[in-house]
Every structure is written in structure tokens, then in C-alpha cells.
């Protein structure tokens, strides 16, 4: 089972390593981990995507709460939140496939943000699943490099 943990932490030196260390020590998975400041500069928000059985999911939340630097933990399913990830992908193109790539970008709402004679950097901001799909679509082209941010998430305005 996949879960997203939105973790508010004190914005102090070493907090990231404490939280990451907790996951490795307790044998929990990290699918992705993103850290950023919040509206309050003394507080950072970590968005951690993890998976495990029911007991593990519960333990992750409890063990996170136990960390002294953790202020608040919210756990939710992907369906309960708006989830976004940003990817930059550098591809080689040629005359034959340029149009295809541009069409794909259009379909997927991706944007070409940099270009040279034979390479381009495409930016896409979407859910992890759609980013995976976009990568699949570009497989036939030569992919040079990929940089992904990992998921950030906020719970939906209306709870269903």
C-alpha cells in the first residue's frame, strides 16, 4: 500500500538526516522525499512517499511523530490529495522525430524549456504516473538525462 506523509518539522540543521535515518534504521521504504520551506520559515515541510503493509504504514507515522523535531504528521492515500512532481528531461532529436516529440509534449502538457541543434530539455509537472507515461512515450527517442523532484502533495480542499 502506498501512503503519502506530509511532515512538518522544525527547520534546523540535521533534521533531514534524522528523518531519513529513521527510515533506513527501521527498514521502511522511501519512494520519494521532498523538503521545502513553508509559510513559516521556522518550519519545513517534508513530503515522503512510502509503501508497506498496514502495520508498517502505522509504524511510520508513529515513529515520525516520536522524533522530537517533528511537529505534525499527516498521512493520506494518493486519492485524498493533489500530488505533483516536476521532471526535466533532456532528449536528442532529429528532423524525423522532432514533430512527434512536440506533439507528445502538447498532449501531455509538457513544455520545451531549452533547445540546441540536436537536443532539447522538456519540463513536465504532473502526477508521478503521468510522468512515467511521458517517459514511456519518449523511450523511442534517445533520452540523455532525467531529473525528477519527487512528489509534493497537499490534501484536497473537500474531503470525500
Amino acid at each position: 500500500m502506498k501512503r503519502i506523509y506530509s511532515v512538518l518539522v522544525e527547520n534546523r540543521a540535521g533534521v533531514l538526516s534524522k528523518v531519513a535515518g529513521l527510515f533506513s534504521r527501521r527498514n521502511f521504504n522511501i519512494d520519494s522525499l521532498v523538503v521545502g520551506e513553508t509559510a513559516d520559515r521556522a518550519v519545513s515541510c517534508m513530503t515522503i512517499v512510502s509503501s508497506g503493509d498496514e502495520r508498517t504504514i502505522e509504524q511510520i507515522e508513529k515513529q515520525l511523530n516520536k522524533k522530537i523535531d517533528v511537529i505534525k504528521v499527516k498521512t493520506f492515500k494518493e486519492s485524498m490529495s493533489i500530488n505533483r512532481e516536476l521532471m526535466l528531461i533532456k532528449v536528442k532529436y532529429n528532423r524525423e522525430n522532432r514533430r512527434d516529440i512536440m506533439e507528445n509534449c502538447q498532449i501531455m502538457n509538457a513544455e520545451i524549456v531549452d533547445m540546441s541543434k540536436n537536443m532539447m530539455v522538456i519540463q513536465i509537472c504532473d502526477t508521478s504516473e503521468r510522468i512515467e507515461l511521458f517517459i514511456e512515450m519518449l523511450r523511442s527517442v534517445s533520452i540523455v538525462e532525467i531529473a525528477r523532484t519527487g512528489t509534493v502533495a497537499l490534501t484536497k480542499c473537500k474531503e470525500n
Partner: protein, 544 residues
């Protein structure tokens, strides 16, 4: 005033009586500032034991134990002691000196990233960068160590911060509020009422007490509750001593190394109250089975313990003393479980592993019989500190706790814990008789502290069960490796009589021909440190 003096002021505000530690350049400003204060300092002989001493002190005094060592190897040597305290939730504040702030990260002499290294064994750690943070950090550290689920907190202080000018006045925070740390004290009243209902309904209730009961100071509340409701009590290793061993409702220690009837009581109960116990592997073989056919209530101050190893029917988070006071308030009528208690007593008679075997080999003392006799010879309120190994298993099973305490390294199983912990216990309460029982393996890991005992006149009685083997592992190799012994024979063992003489300690040697009761009476009589060597059969097993 400099930073180091500010630290001492903070410790005075926390009513610290004694600090165990070791010196080194990076912690010297602190040791220099503590001279001529009311705080007693004890120079131990290796850093690990500073934490063990502080642990023994904390467990008997009920206060936070304090130790301080230097940077680099001093700090890394302390880690095993800190990990030992963490595994048993013992409140400590460990202070480490650090190299100058501007040198951190450049691998200078005696630099170690101790806050990084110790991360998974501490409740929290600090690296103080600004001298003005000292009062807040110390207030927080003592608060964190001694509240909620207790545990060690480490404070790393660079030398330049210790030497920096602090100002003339130190205002120590009176109270503290941390938005990210608010341990639950009071139990949820709805849950409490649910538990009371279950207790009233139960036909075969059992309470299993763990170390959390001692840490919460809830011993008398548990005993009262058990007596009022006529509920049998079993314990984990860390919970030994909550109930007097010979109490009519006490049925021994559970687990692989426990009494079979204690396990049977737990398994056959229809209501099990797990109190301040983490249902660890050594206590409960199959946590998934323990909840079968019964209502299980898990009471713990640490919400993360609940559901970690076993899923309870009723979780109850809070301080045990508070919760049991609420139980006693809510539950006003006495129950009677005479049939169930009778059944357990019958199990006890039938499966009596307490029975001490007859012994034929004259050269050796029967260890179970010896521990029984030792218990009887000790004062009622004495502190018994068991080390790790076969001696620990025998001590758990055969020591009779009356009004005293039983200390051991339960979670980590750290060899060599007993001697320094006994020293700390004695310094916490000099009126108590303190006896450490240890094997010859662990003794050789910690015998350097005999010098500390001599230097500070700490009268601890040490009993070495000597068999020339690392007995517990030898026993394992006997069963698992068909007596192919590897790395367990202690050849070249020293003459303990000469060692005792070297430290001016009284010494006695006991073998199968000795008048054990007479020797024990003489050994325990005086309030000076003494060493007793007890020869036991190297092939002795903890299981029959």
C-alpha cells in the same frame, strides 16, 4: 562567566548531585568550572562505564543521570553505554566536548561526529553552536530525557563555546513548552473505562509488567490494583521487582528464559494487561499468538510501542502511574479470581523449575542454589545488579526480591553493565546494600572500575560466578554446534584473589565444600567493597 560555568549553573538548577566522566582537552573547560561546586565528580576508568554508572544512578534515584566525556574517542567509547540506556529507556544526559567550532568537519585531532554517530541510540541530541543557547538546551535536554518514554539525550559542546563569554547572569527557564514534543501523561478516560469493564468481565486476567512500571514509579499502584482485583501478575526481565517475588499473586518472569508457568499464565489468560512492556522477542516468542482468544490491553507511554510487535484490542497511551490511579478511582469493588489463582498455583507446583537440583560435584557450587542463598542473606531492600549471560538467567529466576530492586541490562544485553551500574546505584542511595552478580567474562570487561571504587570508596559487593567460559554462548554452542566450542573458553584467566588484593578489596573464594551461608553472611556484613569468587561447573546449563 564563561560557557562552561554556565553549564555547571544549569546542572545545579537541575539538582545534579554527581557526574560520572573522563577528562580530555575538549571537555577540560567544563571540568575546570565544576571544581569547588557542590556537584560530586567521579572519574571512571573507561568512558562506556560513565554511562552505565549514570544509568545505575538514574534507576535508583529516579532522577536523570549525568555523564561527561571528551571529544573523539571519549565520545565514541560512550556510545555502547548510551545505547544500553536507550534500549532500557533510562534517562541520561550525556555531555561530550567537541573540537573548536571552526574546526568541525575538518577531521582534526580527536574529532568525531558524535551527534551523527549516536543518532539511532538517543532520544535527542544537540550540538551547541552559540553560548547563549546553553540554558535552553540544558532545560530541554533534562525535560526530554526524564519525561514521556525516558531515554538518553546527548549534548555536544565545542571547546570554544565552553570558553566563550556568557555574561554575568544566567536565567534558567522555569518551565518549558516545545511544540514538537508533548508526551501524553493522562490516559484517555473512555479507554480507561473500557479496560475496567474488561477487568470486571474477565475470568482469567493477567497483568504483565515491564520496565516502564519502574520508570513511572507506579509499583505500589500496580500492587494495589492487582490485590484489589485479585489479578495474577507476571513480569518481563525489566519488570522484575514490581511485585515481591513471594507475593501470592506473582507468577514469575515470562519469555524464553522465564518460568514455564509464567508463560502458561499469559497464554491461557482471557484478559492480558501489558503494562510498560514492549512485547519484545525475548519476552514473547510469537507476538501474533499472544492476542489469540483473549482481550489484550497495551498500556504504554510511547504510542509507537503499541502495535509495533503486537496488535492490542485496547490501546491505552499515558503514564502508568496516572492510569493506574485512574483505574483505582474508577474501580471500587473488589474481584475474586480464586479459581484462576489456584489453577496457576497448581501449574507452578507441577512445572516447578524453581526446584533446585541436587549437586554432586564437590568442587563446584550449584548456581541456582547459590543465588537463592544469596537472596536470603541480602537485606530486604537491597539492590541486586545482574550482569549478562548465564548469571543473568539464574539471577532472574532465582533471586528473591523483597522490597529491593533488581537491575540488569535487559534490552541491549551489554556485558560489564553490572559493576558500574552497581556503583551508580550505591551513589544514588548509600543506605542500600548493593550487590553485583557477574560472570568471569564480563568481570574482565569491567574490572578496571575496581580502581574507581577504591578511589571514591564506593562499597559495592561483587560476586563473580567463575567458570572459565563465556557460559551463555558456550551453552548455545552446546545445543546448536554440538559442543564444537569456538571463542568461548577464557584461558589465562587471572587470579581473582590477587586482583582483589591489588585493589585492597576483601576477597572470599567459595567452592562446593564451603559453608555458603556462613561465607555469605560474613561477606555481606560490612559496608566495604568486597569480591567473592564462586566456582561453578563450566558445563552447567541454564536449562535442564
Amino acid at each position: 562567566m564563561i560557557g562552561a560555568e554556565a553549564i555547571v549553573k544549569c546542572l545545579e538548577k537541575e539538582n545534579t548531585e554527581v557526574i560520572f566522566g573522563y577528562s580530555g582537552v575538549a571537555i577540560d573547560p567544563f571540568w575546570n568550572s565544576i571544581l569547588d561546586t557542590g556537584i560530586k565528580t567521579v572519574l571512571i576508568r573507561t568512558e562506556q562505564n560513565a554511562a552505565h554508572c549514570a544509568s545505575g544512578y538514574a534507576r535508583i534515584s529516579g532522577k536523570v543521570g549525568v555523564c561527561a566525556v571528551t571529544s573523539g574517542p571519549g565520545a565514541t567509547n560512550l556510545i555502547t553505554g548510551i545505547a544500553t540506556a536507550y534500549a532500557d529507556s533510562i534517562p541520561l544526559v550525556a555531555i561530550t566536548g567537541q573540537v573548536n567550532s571552526d574546526m568541525i568537519g575538518s577531521d582534526v585531532f580527536q574529532e568525531a561526529d558524535i551527534t551523527g554517530a549516536v543518532e539511532s541510540f538517543v532520544k535527542y541530541s544537540y550540538l551547541i553552536r552559540d553560548v547563549n543557547d546553553i540554558p535552553r538546551v540544558f532545560k530541554e535536554a533534562f525535560f526530554i530525557a526524564g519525561s514521556g518514554r525516558k531515554g538518553p539525550v546527548l549534548i555536544d559542546i565545542p571547546m570554544d563555546v565552553q570558553l566563550a563569554e556568557f555574561g554575568d547572569k544566567l536565567s534558567y527557564p522555569e518551565s518549558i513548552s516545545m511544540r514538537s514534543y508533548k508526551p501524553t501523561v493522562k490516559g484517555n478516560i473512555v479507554q480507561i473505562k473500557k479496560v475496567i469493564k474488561e477487568v470486571e468481565k474477565a475470568k482469567r486476567p493477567v497483568i504483565c509488567v515491564g520496565g516502564g512500571v519502574h520508570l513511572s514509579g507506579a509499583t505500589s499502584e500496580i500492587v494495589r490494583f492487582a490485590e484489589l482485583n485479585d489479578v495474577p501478575v507476571v513480569s518481563t526481565m525489566m519488570g522484575i521487582g514490581v511485585m515481591p517475588s513471594e507475593h501470592r499473586l506473582y507468577f514469575g518472569m515470562v519469555g524464553n528464559n522465564g518460568q514455564p508457568y509464567a508463560n502458561r499464565a499469559m497464554n491461557e489468560s482471557d484478559l492480558l494487561l501489558m503494562v510498560g512492556a514492549r512485547v519484545a522477542d525475548r519476552a514473547v516468542n510469537r507476538p501474533d499468538l499472544i492476542t489469540e482468544n483473549k482481550v489484550m490491553v497495551h498500556i504504554d507511554v510511547d504510542p509507537a510501542e503499541i502495535g509495533k510487535n503486537v496488535g492490542p484490542t485496547i490501546p491505552l497511551v499515558g503514564d502508568i502511574k496516572h492510569i493506574f490511579n485512574d483505574f483505582l478511582e474508577q474501580d471500587d469493588h473488589a474481584d475474586d479470581h480464586r479459581d484462576w489463582v489456584d489453577t496457576l498455583n497448581k501449574y507452578k507446583e507441577d512445572m516447578d523449575s524453581d526446584r533446585v537440583p541436587d549437586y554432586a560435584i564437590e568442587a563446584y557450587v550449584e548456581p541456582r542454589d547459590f543465588i537463592r542463598r544469596l537472596s536470603r542473606a541480602m537485606k530486604d531492600d537491597a539492590v541486586y545488579v545482574a550482569d549478562v549471560g548465564q548469571n543473568q538467567i539464574w539471577s532472574c529466576a532465582y533471586h528473591i526480591v523483597k522490597r529491593g530492586r533488581f537491575l540488569t541490562s535487559g534490552g541491549m544485553g551489554t556485558m560489564g553493565y553490572s559493576i558500574p551500574a552497581a556503583m551508580g546505584a550505591k551513589l544514588a542511595d548509600s543506605s542500600k546494600q548493593v550487590v553485583a552478580v557477574i560472570g568471569d567474562g564480563a568481570f574482565q570487561m569491567s574490572m578496571m572500575e575496581l580502581a574507581t571504587m577504591k578511589q571514591y570508596r564506593i562499597p559495592v559487593k561483587i560476586i563473580v560466578l567463575k567458570n572459565g567460559f563465556l557460559g551463555m554462548v558456550r551453552e548455545h554452542q552446546h545445543y546448536v554446534y554440538n559442543d564444537n566450542y569456538s571463542m568461548v573458553e577464557l584461558k589465562g584467566d587471572p587470579d581473582l584473589g590477587l586482583i582483589a588484593a591489588a585493589y585492597d578489596m576483601e576477597y572470599k573464594k567459595v567452592d562446593g565444600n564451603s559453608d555458603i551461608d556462613g561465607e555469605l553472611a560474613a561477606f555481606l556484613e560490612s559496608d566495604i567493597s568486597a569480591l567473592m569468587e564462586v566456582r561453578i561447573d563450566p558445563m552447567e546449563l541454564t536449562r535442564f
